[in-house]
């Protein structure tokens, strides 16, 4: 067994694999994560993401193949979810006061209502080129982390097929040829050292999203980082936390947002529409905690 731990992207990463002959896997993984942290963050002024955001309408920019692939995947979910999930909320997040890295408790950013457009701001051309078609700015947020965790896991699975796990701050992807079964706990929404449920799994992906952790006050109003992609407004929901288990971490990241906005029946319709076999643990502010699996509601034991 071989492990790697590091902190980057404001996140603790933990990777464990059965073992590999590929001796330089850790160097490669560290390099990829650091590069994503540097180039894909909306808080870095002169990085690659910022350069695309600086494009004027009608301009074409050529970006790295990895960012092109990630942005295109996010844009695809933007379409598939009828804009409920959106990677184009940078301006809205800033207007709600999320204009710097956490931790912070109070934002002095003055809130201004800005219109949420639902047209596509980019056209994806050949040769990793994008054409800007509308003035909306990109924030990949948790999707970028899920994307790179997933890609690293897919790559490590090839070099260490027996078993492995890539955990990016609680969002994870794991695999096993059958001998290893992972036991994964699901943290309490307020007390992260307590577990409210757990699963045993060999292959899959898990993501958790919570509206308490990244929250702040703006002009006396409570705000959090989860926005409705259709309106750009902070989601108002009785749900405190959602955990999604499915086969792709990118899908899981998107589904955690859907779970905050849709009721159980609507959610199942979306999972079916997206062909997403999916289980979901929901914790609400009235204290109720339950699983949704295959259209059924199951109490936690």
């Amino acid at each position: 067994m071989d492990t790697l731990s590091l902190n980057t992207m404001n996140t603790n990463f933990y990777i464990e694999i059965a073992g590999t002959q590929k001796m330089d896997w850790k160097d490669k993984v560290v390099k990829w994560l650091q590069q994503v942290a540097r180039e894909w963050s909306r808080f870095e002024p002169n990085n690659e993401l910022n350069q695309i955001n600086q494009l004027k309408v009608g301009e074409i920019g050529r970006i790295s193949p990895a960012l092109y692939d990630c942005l295109k995947a996010a844009d695809n979910y933007y379409t598939l979810t009828n804009n409920i999930f959106s990677p184009y909320l940078k301006l809205h997040l800033e207007q709600h006061g999320y204009d710097r890295s956490f931790p912070f408790q109070e934002s002095t950013y003055k809130a201004i209502q800005i219109e949420k457009k639902t047209n596509k701001p980019f056209l994806f051309l050949d040769h990793n080129e994008v054409l800007k078609t509308d003035n909306q700015l990109i924030d990949l947020g948790g999707f970028a982390k899920g994307y790179i965790v997933e890609k690293i896991a897919d790559w490590l699975r090839q070099v260490s097929p027996e078993f492995g796990i890539v955990d990016g701050g609680g969002d994870m992807k794991m695999w096993s040829s059958g001998k290893k079964t992972w036991t994964i706990g699901i943290a309490h929404p307020f007390h992260i050292h307590e577990e409210i449920s757990s699963i045993r799994i060999q292959n899959g992906a898990i993501a958790t999203s919570n509206r308490i952790f990244r929250s702040w006050k703006q002009q006396g109003k409570e705000k959090h980082h989860l926005l409705d992609g259709r309106t750009g407004e902070v989601i108002i929901s009785p749900i405190l936390q959602t955990t999604i288990i499915t086969n792709s971490l990118c899908q899981a990241e998107v589904a955690t947002k859907l779970a905050f906005l849709l009721n159980e029946q609507e959610l199942q319709v979306w999972f079916d529409k997206l062909q997403m076999p999916c289980a979901c643990l929901i914790a609400k502010d009235d204290g109720s905690i339950y699983w949704l699996k295959g259209g059924e509601k199951l109490d936690v034991i």
């Binding site: 301009e59 990016g168 994964i184 699901i186 993501a207 919570n210 086969n247 199951l298």
Partner: protein
């Protein structure tokens, strides 16, 4: 050439020239993340065989929900914890 066709032709050519001028090539685009090396792209995942896709699809369902009490009774520690992020 008729005037209308000529106008369209000129507009088309201007469009191509304008697009070339507007093409912003970021000189400092990082090249360290090697997509081919990571086998990353969505295009590549489209190339998976139907059998592979079926296996991947089925894989995830191989999980069971375990109560916290059950873990405590059997003194099983979780490998990892998913949490707010």
């Amino acid at each position: 050439m008729k005037d209308q066709k000529k106008a369209k032709w000129i507009l088309g050519t201007s469009g191509v020239i304008l697009s070339s001028l507007l093409l912003t090539q970021f000189n400092n685009v990082p090249s360290d993340i090697n997509i081919a090396d990571l086998n990353l792209t969505n295009e590549q995942s489209k190339k998976m065989s139907d059998r592979e896709k079926e296996l991947v699809q089925l894989d995830w369902t191989n999980f069971e929900i375990v109560g916290v009490n059950q873990l405590q009774q059997n003194k099983i520690r979780t490998d990892r914890t998913t949490k707010r992020s």
